[in-house]
Amino acid sequence: MGYRKVAIVGAGMTKFVRRALETPRELSWLAAKAALDSAEMKLDQVDSVVFGSAPDAFDGLHMKGEFVADGCGAWGKPYLRCYVGGGTGVYAIAQGWLHVASGLFDTCLVVCEEKMSTCQPHPQGAFLTIFDNFTEQPLKPNLLWIFALEQNRYMQVHGITLEEIARVSVKNKRNALGHPCAQLGAELTVEDVLKSEVMAWPVHRLMVSPTSDGAAAVVLAAEHVARRVTNKPVWIEGVGWCLDTAYWTNRDLYYPRYVERAARMAYEMAGIREPRKEINIAEPYDPFAYKELHHLEGLQLAPKGQAAKLLADGVFDRDGDLPATPSGGLLGVGNPIAAAGTMKICELFWQLRGEAGARQVPGKPRRGVAQAWGDLMQVGTVVVVGV
């Protein structure tokens, strides 16, 4: 199937912090400007803008997209805000791809931002409203519940231990030490992780990504523009997204089938038949440590129930066969919801161009996959890039 070629030609992001001084607009501006500057492009070369952000409930605004628009360079331009919960940060790149691939636009600036700290007394509280208003909210559920329920099911079905899961935190927080924007880079041991407070068994504190403020942006361009702008465009080879039923308690949570479907859609577009062989770097979504393993399986990069073993064998280390989350991920860099997914795209952009500095994966990686997840254990969004 011949699609119009679209490349990422620039990327930029802010630091991810627990609480930023900057407003949502300012955060968006900083990331958008950094992305444009990295491509040596000006705003008038941008034909269209895509904005991604997760619940308005955090930023303290209704129609948040309208308020932030100025910070994304959207004045006078076609502007769309897409939204699939935590999946937004990777889906937004697919949305941007649609703009350029349609032939209606030659360039698209994609900005994702989140300012969770606005929500008082703690951003966590806003998550109450993601649960079903009729059948679940009266129980006063906690965001931790659904992750803990899923982690427990995953562990039960496959016999995975907490030690195996803790290794993800250790790897990602260590990787994050090489990321200039990281909120929680650290050198930890498995024991440190297991000794950390049990928040919702089987989830320990050091297995949970933080709430964060931050923004990330990329510039997408059609081939003729890309070749003028840079000598190393990173091509978007495949996009995929998939949303499962809202009735999450009617499904078995041990496996993210919606991630598999999204991945297959992206791999088919990219002409990838054996992902484990053809993908050089993976950036799976890691809001909780077990999730990285869960998602690696959904991404077809590990057989069901086997991701933990491959991790223990070093396959997913930065210098392993298939580096996973060399950025440091949500666990290490931070989790401003939508921006976190885009951070992973930025990471692949830098890695494939050999610009990732201390985080650089050896061996000249050529193809990467970024994945985000969101909603009530429901949505998978996947983008495959290559040079």
Partner: protein, 384 residues
């Protein structure tokens, strides 16, 4: 890459002030069933879905969680746009023109009746530091804009009242409209002042309803039994959000959105090439302001005179908002744009009964997202 985009299916529930017999899911299911039957398709045929919704209008965060099941979208590509339904139609066009999909569903609905304090929600959309502390009901923004608009354009208040009366009367012939009424301009002016210069009957009341479109690529449209309504152009744009730096009299973002749509549709003289217009009239003066921005009239004063003379009524030379518009159908929140499109689809297919505009071949739908936004979208639909 597909070359053209068409609407091959339309389904909706009628706009009504309340809809207590249905939950939002049941309302969406009804509209979707009707749309798929109209298109002659099964839900399983649809390849991708777009919902247009804002969390705080639904009262649920991450509203896209709750959209797939009642549309038949489970385990399919689906996402939400936090914008008007016309933006959703634009998104569907992008998906089809890119070559990724050939059958996409767009949905939007309103359950405004379920929002207990809607003006507080609208307030929550205003600038939290510079504007919200003034503690004003956000409709004041429309009042400010109308004041400046009248001052700069020379349009008279009474002419705006004619818009409201016309659209409420148009709604009398639209069974899907929530607020039909036989009003004259004097009745509108006699209604209580609300946000001066706006009077109560110049402000659209909210309504509940759901609209689903089935959108197809050219090849798929030709294989469809339904008469395709072609999306000849679609444009959208934002202006600056800041109240302090906007052009109050002229919504430049509407002009920009129209430019993009006209260029795609090959339209150079909108007044001559378009026979049917469905534009935003959430506040009566807006219809005149938008007709100028859309270049249907050289200026708003001309549009106002034409309205006064009855030239924009059904049966006259350039019918505007034969559906009743937002004033007549009701403010359907994110579904307003799709309500405008629904009317065009019915008209172009010759399915509008007593409202039918004879000889309509090209129509324009325009939406605006309401205060405090500067967001608009425009679509040109046609039989060819």
């Amino acid at each position: 890459m597909g070359s053209r985009v068409a609407i091959i299916g339309l389904g909706f529930t009628p706009a009504r002030p309340t809809s207590s017999h249905q939950s939002y899911k049941e309302m969406m299911f009804e509209a979707a069933q009707r749309a798929y039957a109209d298109a002659g398709i099964e839900a399983a045929d649809v390849q991708s879905f777009v919902t247009c919704a804002e969390d705080l209008n639904e009262g649920l965060s991450i509203f896209d969680e709750y959209t797939p099941d009642q549309l038949g979208a489970m385990l399919k590509p689906m996402h939400t746009l936090t914008q008007d339904g016309l933006h959703g139609l634009a998104d569907a066009a992008l998906q089809i023109l890119s070559g990724l999909f050939e059958l996409v569903v767009v949905e939007a609905h309103s359950k405004a009746s379920n929002i207990v304090a809607p003006d507080w929600i609208a307030d929550y959309a205003t600038d939290p530091v510079l504007n919200r502390p003034l503690g004003l009901n956000p409709h004041y923004i429309a009042g400010l804009e109308m004041q400046r608009f009248l001052h700069e354009s020379g349009v008279k208040h009474e002419q705006c009242a004619h818009v409201a009366a016309k659209n409420r009367r148009h709604a009398l012939r639209n069974p899907a409209a929530a607020y039909p009424a036989h009003l004259e301009a004097k009745d509108v002016l006699a209604s209580p002042p609300a946000f001066e210069p706006l009077h109560e009957k110049e402000i659209a009341r909210t309504a509940d309803g759901c609209i689903v479109l089935v959108v197809a690529g050219e090849d798929r449209a030709h294989r469809s039994a339904a008469k395709p309504v072609w999306v000849r152009g679609v444009g959208w744009a934002n202006g600056s959000f800041a109240l302090e730096s906007r052009n109050w009299a002229h919504p430049d973002y509407v002009r920009r959105a129209a430019e993009i749509a006209y260029r795609q549709a090959g339209i150079h003289d909108p007044a001559r090439e378009i026979q049917l217009l469905e534009v935003d009239d959430t506040y009566a003066y807006k219809e005149l302001q938008h007709l100028e921005a859309l270049r249907v009239f050289p200026n708003a004063a001309d549009a106002a005179r034409a309205t006064e003379r009855g030239e924009t009524q059904q049966g006259a030379r350039l019918p505007v908002n034969v559906s009743g518009g937002v004033l007549g159908m009701g403010n359907l929140l994110e579904a307003n744009g799709l309500a405008r499109v629904a009317e065009l689809v019915l008209q172009l297919r010759g399915q509008s009964g007593a409202r039918q505009v004879e000889g309509a071949r090209v129509g324009l739908a325009q939406s605006w997202r309401g205060v405090p936004t500067t967001s608009a979208a425009v679509a040109i639909l046609g039989l060819e």
